[in-house]
């Protein structure tokens, strides 16, 4: 299953909802996090702060680390009990997809893996809308095939409404934190 998480710049309890989606009702044991602008430690903290704690196996795919602020980079050393794989800025979306696919395969296909992509907005800084759309179609299909549950952060404040509505067709459901309504597609 794949969920689009529309999280505005301010408010909306993005981290709380992200933690809920990662843990799920059955307290999943494995998680695959993709991060662009935030450090792996910052993303891991999102569910460390969750009441059920952190899953046993965490892998963080760290994209675009060079572009990150020095403050975020300083926090990057603190990612215990997690595998961090850095993906350089020269790697294109197909290359990023291959890395995600490899880690997803390592986790196996027994349906107990959570996937968090933070964020689609950052990916749209790297590539045009058509390319990101196609990348996400493949990614959501591989997540579905692995029996995993994925959610994908997108900041609705920084994109055209047309872009958001185009991307919505790729997902099973959309959680819009601007209204806190959950709409099934």
């Amino acid at each position: 299953m794949n969920v689009l998480l529309l999280a505005p710049s301010v408010g909306g309890h993005e981290d709380d909802v992200c933690g809920e989606l990662l843990h799920g009702p059955s307290d999943r044991e494995r998680a695959l996090l993709v991060t662009c602008m935030e450090s792996p430690a910052e993303r891991l903290a999102v569910w460390t702060d969750h009441e059920d704690g952190r899953p046993e196996d965490a892998t963080v795919i760290d994209v675009e680390a060079d572009a990150r602020s020095t403050a975020a980079a300083a926090a990057a050393g603190d990612a215990p009990n997690a595998v961090v794989e850095s993906v350089g800025a020269e790697v294109d979306l197909a290359g990023l997809g291959d890395v995600i696919d490899r880690h997803l395969a390592e986790f196996g296909a027994d349906g107990d893996t959570a996937v968090c992509v933070h964020s689609v907005s950052d990916l749209l800084q790297r590539a045009d809308e058509a390319a990101v759309f196609k990348f996400l179609e493949v990614l959501t299909s591989t997540v579905e095939r692995a029996g995993a549950v994925g959610h994908y952060h997108l900041n609705p404040d920084v994109h055209d409404p047309e872009t958001i509505r185009t991307f919505e067709v790729l997902f099973d459901s959309v959680v819009d934190l601007r209204t806190a309504n959950v709409a099934d597609e």
Partner: protein, 219 residues
């Protein structure tokens, strides 16, 4: 010599408006519709183009492929480039044919409105990542390897063109009036089903590559 096409050029007759010459005044809607329709062509009616510098090799490979595909043979670069239209989903080309460099092929594929998969027919192994080709076939080509490769490239072509159509319809439906939108929603659901079906036969890296690979003319 004009390109030959056997069995009879059913795919051309089916969509007479799909020639690259006649479509210059198509609107964007016509264009997406045209692409969408071409996705519905069954595997056996997708066209494979074969052009080796040795006419005997061209004929041999074409004969093997005709058991499953509609095949066009070409014997020089002018034939081959003229045959690379929107009906072609897989092209097997010998880059040592004079005038059939990777750059010429890529230029033709880009300007012809076609989005086919291209495999090189070569005498030596290629590092495919550093070329504009999607794959290569080392000569002499074993017949079962030939068939398997074309089947795989055909699936990749189908995934790529279906995904492009899916994106276009997802975009077009935003501006559609309610009646049109209902039709496009149905279309979107059909394309989604077809994507899922083709995806089932691809592994992850193949799907990413088919979806996103840009032909690189720098070769």
């Amino acid at each position: 010599m004009s390109p030959t096409s056997e069995p009879p050029r059913q795919s051309v007759q089916m969509n007479p408006d799909e020639t690259t010459d006649g479509g210059s005044d198509e609107t964007a809607d016509d264009e997406s519709e045209r692409r969408a329709r071409s996705d519905e062509v069954p595997l056996g009616e997708r066209v494979v183009l074969v052009a080796d510098r040795d006419p005997a090799v061209t004929d041999e490979l074409a004969a093997v492929l005709r058991e499953q595909f509609t095949v066009r043979s070409a014997y020089d670069s002018a034939d081959a480039l003229a045959s690379l239209d929107a009906d072609v989903s897989v092209a097997l080309l010998d880059p040592t044919i004079s005038g059939l460099s990777a750059r010429r092929v890529v230029d033709r594929v880009r300007t012809g409105g076609t989005d086919c998969q291209v495999a090189a027919l070569t005498d030596d192994p290629l590092d495919i990542e550093s070329t504009a080709f999607d794959d290569y076939l080392l000569k002499p080509v074993a017949h079962d390897h030939l068939t398997r490769t074309v089947e795989r490239l055909s699936r990749r072509a189908a995934y790529r063109t279906t995904l492009e159509a899916y994106y276009r319809v997802a975009r077009d439906r935003l501006d559609a009036d309610p009646e049109e939108r209902e039709r496009l929603d149905d279309r979107l659901a059909e394309l989604d089903d077809r994507l899922d079906a083709v995806f089932g036969a691809l592994d992850g890296p193949e799907a990413y590559d088919a979806a996103l690979r840009e032909l690189d003319a720098d070769f």
